[in-house]
């Protein structure tokens, strides 16, 4: 340990003094002068408050609508770009280098990433050389590619798991900032209360301004209970209280929100580890740790998935904002590198737009 620190000290002395000797470098003190360094106070004794929706008695009857908007329709809105490449491929008489280049570009533009793209295409090439695929049949090649990509998701369990026996099921939601954790929880709460489950929301994002208020308005809409801590409270304690509350009220499901955090922040990831430890403490039974991922995310998504999995054992991915022009191809890279299943996808603003993941539809939408 000492070595690294000694080296850093010296390196920084050199860097700092190197410029200090130079002396005259203009100092950009404008925007960054007084960067607040002290972490927001996190009082050790949070005062959780329990809010119950106005009319708890009016839980709606079991009424699961068969809403499953066709992913392809949603995704199809802006497929022009990719479709162009693939039409070119289809329209050709034979398969040559240009074909592969076009496929490569199509996959990369869908954010599948160079590594996964290269591997998938190498596989296709091999089959072409071995004669398993005809060199004069571009549509068959496309079909083979689609099948390959779809089969990446084979054997996945796409449903969310409920605990068996006593104690509330706990689903923990994690992810970087702005991916839609709170919104996802709100929509799920609506779905689960509609299915007749007692739902408690744990407002574990005690950091971002008004995150609690945001979740509270969802709780009202979904007719779910919510447990909140004071701003800056320890998120673990909020989740602990939520589990206790759910257990005492006989509510079956706790949806635990956490503050968005970049996976590079060591202390925040440590905080999340603690949240997980607390969430799985009986009577709570932690069955899902869901990484919420924004479909617009590029190759950094793989890094995010890896880091969050390492820290808190992610069990599945929720892919949000798929209704835009982004294809969310990074989940293919995540699936093939880390083996994480995709459990839910968000294809619109409405609560009914959070739907189970369908690999076939996803891949064919990718192809336009």
């Amino acid at each position: 340990m000492a070595l690294v620190i000694v080296l850093i000290v010296v390196a920084v002395v050199l860097v700092a003094s190197g410029t200090l000797v130079a002396g005259t470098r203009s100092r950009r003190r404008d925007a960054v002068l007084t960067r607040a360094r002290a972490p927001k106070a996190r009082p050790s004794e949070p005062v959780p408050s329990v809010t119950t929706p106005a009319e708890p008695g009016t839980a709606p009857q079991l009424e699961i609508q068969a809403v499953h908007p066709a992913l392809k329709d949603r995704l199809g809105r802006a497929r022009g770009l990719l479709a162009g490449y693939l039409d070119q491929v289809r329209g050709r008489k034979g398969i040559d280098e240009a074909t592969f280049e076009e496929l490569e570009e199509a996959l990369i533009l869908a954010d599948v990433g160079v590594t996964t793209t290269t591997r998938v295409l190498r596989d296709l090439r091999d089959r072409l050389h071995s004669g398993a695929l005809s060199a004069t049949d571009p549509p068959a090649l496309l079909q083979a590619l689609q099948d390959d990509l779809t089969s990446l998701f084979e054997g996945d369990v796409e449903t969310l798991a409920y605990a068996e026996g006593e104690g509330p099921t706990v689903w923990l939601f994690v992810g970087v900032n702005g991916v839609g954790k709170t919104t996802t929880i709100g929509k799920l709460a609506l779905r689960e209360t509609k299915a007749g489950r007692g739902v408690v929301l744990a407002a574990g994002d005690t950091f971002r301004a008004a995150a609690g208020e945001q979740l509270e308005s969802w709780a009202e809409r979904a007719d779910a209970r919510i447990v909140r801590g004071s701003d800056g409270a320890d998120p673990s304690s909020v989740i602990f209280d939520a589990v206790q509350h759910a257990a005492s009220r006989g509510a079956g499901l706790v949806l635990a929100d956490t503050a968005g955090r970049l996976h590079t922040k060591v202390n925040l990831m440590d905080e999340l580890r603690k949240v997980r430890r607390v969430a799985e403490r009986p009577p709570g039974q932690l069955t899902e740790v869901l990484l919420v991922l924004d479909a617009t995310t590029g190759q950094n998504g793989v890094v995010q998935a890896r880091q969050f999995t390492e820290a808190v054992g992610v069990t599945g991915i929720v892919l949000t904002k798929l209704d835009g022009t982004a294809k969310g191809g990074v989940v293919l890279a995540i699936r093939s590198e880390l083996g994480l299943p995709i459990k839910l996808v968000g294809v619109g603003e409405g609560p009914e737009d959070l739907v189970p993941f369908d690999p076939t539809e996803f891949v064919s939408a990718l192809f336009g």
Partner: protein, 465 residues
């Protein structure tokens, strides 16, 4: 998984050097590596193609062969091309002759508009202006509430009412005029570029307030889609600049390059953290190095400048050069270093730090231990560690609540460091002799760390070339 570009190029060129000649085939191989690196950094495919052509034109094999270090040369060219693409004219805010100057922020959901609005307001205040915030995001629950909390934090008024975005914007503007505010920042709801209705709405908001500046807020982690989104927003709103957010993560931020290229307007600001204060003006050269995965020495320097006491550091440098750097000096430096934030973050800013080290989790508590050890020594011991015999070491260990092993470790490392420094003393002078040349100081740092690699105790870090 992903080595830095420099390492990859080095591998290619080392292989070539044996053969002596650098042909077009080799250059093509290098260009392929660059292409992959740029794509991995999420630079849009079309933009990558343009860049590669520009780089190819400047890197003919014959020309490269003249350099002792063709790898460095290629990197330099790539870096210059990236900087040129990212840079261009910087955005200079000119204030409206008839205040208020109106600024509108738009972008996808979750890109960081609300936080950026507050960050921008704070920045304007630092420029001596009197900003006012308008919360026109009536879509996301509690978005206005969030803006109010942030506004209160920085002491900037926030206007909003639960009507519709267009009348909120109009009302807010009137209120700002009444209050005599000279800058108005309008935060809008996140929307998808293909949502015609919502794009229409933001256009109406824009028409209502006639912004002098419209900024597109984009997340540094965005992938290939950045281009299409930016295009659509540009068409609807005529963007004036870009705000790049979540730059504090480890995404390489290639999206910035794509967006810049498509919109043709400068990247104006960076949001580098969750706090309102983490908001700064953009510097193209630094992002270029980052996209290439080369660390960010300039930010490190700036950080150091902010936190370091010049006088103490100047003395420390002198002592380093003359070999009279004592444990006391070391303690001073360590304490200054602590002010700069977690050590792990610092490592990632330094180029040339071996991957093993960059990934090593530096426990900041260890810094405390080292501090305690040194503090438990007498002035004599600090000035001349050689007097520390077994019994003194035991006393120091007890005094600092550590073990003799830890004390021994520190002393051994410190000795190694002194030895190493004697070698680079002249080098440090060289750095000093080139005022304000960032690329030189970056090289200096890299050399230095490499110096560290050859010390016997740093086995396992592995020399890279």
């Amino acid at each position: 998984m992903f080595d830095t570009l420099t390492d990859r190029f080095d591998a290619i060129f080392t292989r070539l050097r044996g053969r002596g000649r650098l042909g077009d085939a080799e250059v093509a191989e290098v260009l392929r590596e660059i292409r992959v690196a740029l794509l991995e950094a999420d630079v849009n495919l079309a933009v990558v193609r343009e860049l590669i052509e520009a780089i190819r034109a400047r890197c003919s094999g014959a020309e490269l062969a003249k350099y002792l270090t063709p790898a460095q040369q290629v990197i330099k060219v790539v870096n210059e091309e990236l900087t040129a693409t990212l840079g261009g004219q910087a955005l200079k805010i000119s204030y409206a002759s008839k205040p208020p100057t109106v600024v509108l922020l738009a972008g996808l959901q979750g890109s960081g508009k609300t936080t950026s609005s507050a960050g921008l307001a704070r920045w304007f205040r630092q420029q001596g202006r009197h900003p006012y915030l308008i919360g026109a995001d009536l879509q996301r629950p509690a978005a206005v509430e969030q803006l109010r909390v942030l506004g209160a934090e920085i002491g900037v008024g926030v206007f909003s009412e639960p009507t519709d975005p267009v009348s909120v914007a109009r009302g807010g503007l009137a209120e700002a005029q009444r209050l005599g505010r000279d800058v108005v920042i309008v935060d809008t709801a996140g929307r998808l570029a293909i949502d015609r209705e919502l794009m229409d709405e933001v256009r109406r908001v824009s028409e209502a307030v006639r912004p002098h500046y419209t900024f597109f807020v984009v997340d540094a982690m965005t992938g290939q889609d950045a281009v299409q989104t930016a295009e659509a927003f540009h068409q609807a709103l005529q963007l004036d600049g870009i705000i790049l957010t979540k730059v504090d993560g480890d995404a390489r931020g290639g999206a910035a390059l794509s967006v810049k290229q498509v919109v043709g307007r400068p990247i104006a600001f960076l949001s580098t953290g969750e706090r309102v204060a983490d908001f700064e003006v953009f510097h193209p050269d630094r992002l270029a190095s980052r996209i290439l995965g080369m660390g960010d020495v300039l930010s490190l320097i700036e950080k150091a400048e902010r936190e370091y006491d010049e006088e103490v550091t100047g003395q420390a440098l002198q002592r380093l050069q003359t070999g009279t750097f004592t444990l006391d000096d070391f303690l001073d430096q360590l304490r200054q270093l602590k002010k700069m934030g977690p050590l792990t973050g610092l490592l990632s800013l330094m180029p040339g730090v071996p991957k093993e080290m960059r990934d090593a989790k530096v426990d900041d508590r260890d810094v405390g231990k080292i501090e305690a050890i040194i503090c438990s020594m007498t002035p004599l011991e600090r000035a001349d560690p050689t007097v520390l015999d077994g019994s003194r070491r035991l006393r120091v260990a007890r005094g600092s609540g550590t073990s003799t092993t830890e004390v021994n470790n520190l002393l051994r490392q410190f000795k190694e460091m002194q030895k190493m420094m004697r070698g680079i003393g002249p080098m440090a002078k060289l750095m000093g002799g080139r005022p304000g040349n960032p690329s030189k100081s970056s090289k200096g740092t890299r050399k230095k760390v490499k110096g560290g690699r050859v010390t016997p105790s740093s086995k396992g870090l592995g020399p890279s070339r």
